[in-house]
Symmetry: C2
């Protein structure tokens, strides 16, 4: 299992939390958003997902991975 913490700009409310967590799940990982610190803890199997695809899924929801 690979673990990464991303800094993500633009998340402001619980709808954003669900949008980001859902996008990461669809990309094959799991995510835990912390709104206060603007971070997303990601876990994924290298055999099932890529960090690139997960980042793109978050950005497709309208957020900036910084």
């Amino acid at each position: 299992m690979t673990q990464v913490t991303l800094n993500v700009e633009g998340m402001s409310c619980n709808h954003c939390v669900k949008a980001v967590e859902g996008a990461v799940q669809n990309a094959g990982g799991t995510a835990k958003v912390d709104l206060a610190s603007k971070t997303v803890e990601i876990e994924f199997e290298e055999s099932k997902a890529t960090l690139k695809a997960i980042k793109e899924a978050i950005e497709d929801q309208g957020y900036d991975v910084v």
Copy 2:
């Protein structure tokens, strides 16, 4: 047609806009949210909806009508 502008706290993103506009529609009115001014322009027919029910629908989504 009755028109009312409400001040609503807690709306931060486009998900919030959709949540508020959808809640007002479900309560029998129409709504246009302006995030910058934290206002919601409401229209409804007195025969079909009440302002009380519309305000409650917005608050049920987790926002404060002030």
